[in-house]
Amino acid sequence: MAERTELTTATSAGANERPVSPAVDIFEDAGGITLLADMPGVSKDRLDVKLDGDTLSVEGRVELDMPSDMRALWAEVSVPRFRRTFTLSRELDTGRIEANLKDGLLTLRVPKQAHAQPRRIEVSSA
């Protein structure tokens, strides 16, 4: 019975809580776009990177190993979920997105389609 109550509380808290947007750095170079997202407390099995059409979504659940007999004295972080979505444009090669998660930092690399990479146009002199 006690177990069931705990489960219900955990689920409803998760559903009501609006997720927090992780802080991101995004930059582009000749080969593609790199996105870094701060997601402390998110491990690989709690991270979800999804692509739906041209919408890229990043979602992660925070896992805090708090002792059960701990009482909070001060809390700056209270939302247990990160989520943020991005719209990709057509010159990006969504089939080759690479994701890497280390120490709570997610790095996504979205390469450009080969034909979208910059090329130098030769100027011929007549």
Partner: protein
């Protein structure tokens, strides 16, 4: 928001940032503010808790080499400091920057500990971007069972 690249500070992005900051709590309702607390949005963010045997401090500091984090306790003030390198290639003129929200460079935060901690019994662990520092309470402060004769 990877498209529309020439207006990085669009309204939607500003709202996103506001929401990000507002959705973090200011601390627990009714809990007194510490003189060492700082404006929110500081890096790393910190949660503090107390168990019958210890004080637990959680610092949310992703993407840092654990060996470069400095944890010190001096006169009951716990200090967590270090630095986080920028991930953005600095000298490449080809690089176009669209968003730079992640704090970088040196950071330092301090937490006042209660008087009843034992500063010699400290453990620090870094996992998935969270640094957890456990400071034991001194034996006298821990609950004891007194045998009834």
């Amino acid at each position: 928001m990877l498209d529309n690249m020439h207006t990085p500070q669009r309204l939607s992005e500003q709202l996103e940032t506001m929401h990000r900051l507002l959705s973090r709590s200011f601390g627990l309702d009714g809990a007194p503010g510490s003189i060492r607390s700082v404006a929110y949005g500081a890096f790393p963010e910190i949660n503090v808790g107390r168990t019958p045997a210890s004080i637990e401090v959680f610092a949310f500091a992703p993407g840092i080499d654990a060996a470069s984090i400095d944890v010190t306790i001096e006169r009951n003030v716990l200090k967590i400091s270090g630095s986080r390198a920028s991930a953005i290639p600095q000298r490449d003129v080809q690089v176009q920057l669209y968003s730079n929200e992640r704090p970088e460079g040196r950071f330092s935060r301090a937490v006042t500990l209660p008087d009843d901690v034992d500063p010699l019994k400290v453990q620090a662990k870094y996992r998935d971007g969270i640094l957890r520092v456990s400071i034991a309470l001194s034996a006298a402060a821990q609950p004891q069972r007194i045998a009834v004769q």
